[in-house]
């Protein structure tokens, strides 16, 4: 059998050397991978991040995750994968192993690195609103499943819904048209690009920060009404493209091809391209919840799953770059004070891994690195410390300043001025376009 250890795949390969028949070898591999996946699922269910950390350290099963495939034959329409049940003896072995593992994990907790900090406490407001503690982010996550969304297509539709092949069901009752998308990309050397862009290239994830009622039977009426009230408000103001309510229902608010109000003044980029004020460039997805500092995952499992299906569908449909799928908290800026984190929803704790997206908290913040933005006490009072991407951006800025022979403050100021200039150019460009559109409209109406 392939044994668990620090390197289970190496152990599996060693075992494979003794098998000569290709079919038997294939069977051994596939069953071993199934077994790794089963164990991984069980470890995911272990309570507490430190315990899980120790369990993963002991088993090394994370190494096999890229091989947990829903499409092991590489066909376009793979047959439904039926994982054979583990035999009784094997089940018993796994269960005993799990018990031993938990015991070992308990003993090994002392070795859990301090930097991970204590188990996060649920946010105060969240505790007040919801009687039971919310799941931590890690506990609710599934393993990432591959890098790019599978092919997704419209299976069925009606006057008020669209159903997609990945199980995504979009309620279109509330959908309205928004303004036409129109935005530009900036490059470090070229400034504002000449090309006017009209297709979305990314996603910004939000939380609605609306009234959240306890998930209890006695609040059914409130639970129903609050979502409807929220949707009425969003539609009226063309806020967000999608809202995912607490039961995982996905509502389209503004048509995807149009611009919605959601990202406000913001900065993000990928490669050498930078985007200012992301309403034009991105699709806004909001979860009906309050972020509450991100100490615990503020969404329900249904919301997590629905968000994943919606993200896959949007990425597939618009060929969105994963690097451009970001949270509002990471991109939002205060343009006058040149501060990041003007809005902080999902500034921590968004489950990027479960959505097969790169961990944007690790990415050097473009606002800090390219435009010399910083943060203030309010920011620190909520987050405690900046996310790793801010620190990385500060380090990059300092290193670039050293390379150019200037002080960090001088370089920062220079970049702040670049931001101000670019923002002014962008504003002027938008105003010119608005005037032109108004003139066209007047001409069309004969006025």
């Amino acid at each position: 059998m392939a044994r668990f250890g620090r390197r289970p795949l190496a152990a599996l390969e060693a075992e494979l050397r003794t098998i000569k028949d290709p079919v038997e070898k294939l069977r051994f591999i596939r069953l071993s991978l199934d077994r790794f996946e089963t164990l991984d699922e069980r470890l995911q269910a272990l309570p507490g991040a430190p315990l899980r950390w120790v369990a993963y350290r002991l088993t090394g099963v994370e190494e096999a995750r890229p091989l947990f495939s829903r499409n092991p034959w590489g066909a376009l329409d793979p047959p439904r994968r039926s994982r054979p049940p583990l035999p009784r003896r094997a089940r018993r072995t796994v269960n005993v192993a799990a018990v031993l593992l938990m015991a070992a994990a308990g003993l090994a907790l002392a070795s859990y690195p301090r930097v991970h900090g204590p188990e996060p406490k649920p946010a105060t407001a969240a505790t007040a609103a919801t009687p039971k503690p919310r799941p931590t982010a890690q506990a609710a996550l599934d393993p990432p499943r591959g890098g790019t969304p599978e092919r997704i297509w419209l299976v069925d539709s009606g006057a008020a819904f669209e159903l997609y092949s990945n199980g995504l069901r979009i309620d279109t009752t509330w959908a309205v048209r928004g303004e036409a998308r129109r935005y530009r990309a900036f490059t470090k050397d070229g400034g504002m690009g000449a090309e006017v862009l009209e297709r979305p290239i990314g996603i910004v994830f939000h939380t609605s920060e609306s009234d959240i009622w306890p998930l209890e039977e006695s609040f059914n009426q409130k639970l129903r009404d609050s979502s409807q009230d929220l949707l009425r408000y969003l539609r009226r103001n063309q806020v967000y493209h999608y809202l995912i309510d607490r039961f995982g229902r996905v509502y389209r608010v503004v048509e995807e091809k149009d611009k919605a109000n959601h990202a406000g003044v913001s900065v993000w980029g990928a490669g050498d391209r930078l985007y200012l004020n992301l309403n034009g460039a991105t699709i806004g997805i909001s979860y009906e919840t309050r972020w509450e500092g991100g100490a615990a995952l503020p969404i329900t499992r249904a919301q997590l799953e629905a968000g994943r299906s919606l993200t896959d569908y949007l990425r597939h449909k618009w060929s969105l770059a994963p690097e451009m799928c970001v949270t509002h908290g990471l991109a939002s800026v205060n343009p006058r004070k040149h501060l990041i984190g003007h809005h902080l929803d999902w500034a921590r704790g968004f489950p990027f891994a479960a959505y097969s997206l790169p961990d944007q908290y690790q990415v050097a913040s473009p606002a800090v690195r390219r435009f010399g933005f910083s943060y203030d006490e309010r920011f620190l009072s909520v987050l405690g410390e900046p996310w790793p991407g801010v620190i990385a951006a500060q380090a990059a800025l300092a290193s670039e300043a050293a390379a150019s022979g200037q002080g960090v403050d001088a370089v920062r100021m220079e970049r702040v001025r670049t931001y101000d200039r670019w923002l002014a150019e962008l504003t002027k460009d938008a105003e010119t376009a608005e005037k032109a559109a108004a003139q066209d409209a007047r001409a069309a109406s004969g006025g």
Binding site: E24, L26, A75
Partner: protein, 354 residues
Amino acid sequence: MAENKDHLWKAPEESADKIEDLVKGGSHPVGIDVGTSKVVVSKRGGKEVACQAQLNAFIPVPYSPVTERTIQQQSDIHYYRDGEEIVIFGSATERFANMFNAEARRPMADGLLNPKEKQAWPVLEAILQSLVPKPRSSNEVLSFSVPAAAPGRESALTYHEASLRQHFTALGYKAMAINEGLAVIFAELEQHNFTGIGISCGGGMCNATLAFLSIPSIMVSLPKAGDFIDRSVGDAVGEHAQRVKVIKEEGFELSKQPKDKLEKALHIYYEDLVESLVDTLRRAISRAEKLPKTDRPLPIVLAGGTAKPKGFRELFERTLRARPFPIEVAEVRVAADPFTATARGAYIAAMFEK
């Protein structure tokens, strides 16, 4: 060894009698490579696994009782009557194409059912029926190859895959599709625990798959292969594509200096094809977000009729190593039998699913 057998996820290692077991159990899995140029079937014949092929082409000839009687007298000609025409299909097509000085028609193009060919499906069905026996019992497994989805052609692939699945299911098989490059890996990289890159260079397209421990991580296709070479060379030298194909298949070698204009053009378009293939693979691997970690270089195996000329392997390796490649490559080799590798790999998948 004995203790290992106690675990059910560990397969028994005494597999030498596997074919014997299948005979006793009456199991007859089938693997098929449904290629643009050829359809190759891998199935059991007695205790051996054997491969059979048919040209994936046809030619309609005018019906007359005399023609039909003449055809009937020759056992190796497959045909069916369609109104006022006799449709000759499979390997005899080339002979009749030469006889009537006409071009053979293809049910498939660029790896998929040919949307411009009205007779595509009836002919392909007939070709498949000539190769695939009816299952002897219910739930016999049949595994057929499909290309990787080329960008923008997903819906065509869905139709292609679903049509084949329906056909084999209607015959009574438990049908499963397998990616073509993965099938090459199954057939050729067992020694490497099904880890490496399998490339199938067929008539309509090239398919490449990077797999780790039998699980495909990257699958790409390039709608450029043998037919592209035949057409391009034909256009360049004013020769019929069919004749280019014949010359190409009759002992053309990439390892030798070209001796005439046609061979020079063949060299040029082979180089162009390999360049595009390596570039496609390089880009796909560079873009991949998550690949399993491996600390050893990976093998590449080349299969398909287009990989057959001597010197193809060297050309591929030269092109590959001319520029940095995102993963370390251990060796590049040609499959033991490039024509049947995909079918043999599909057969292994069918045996597994049995």
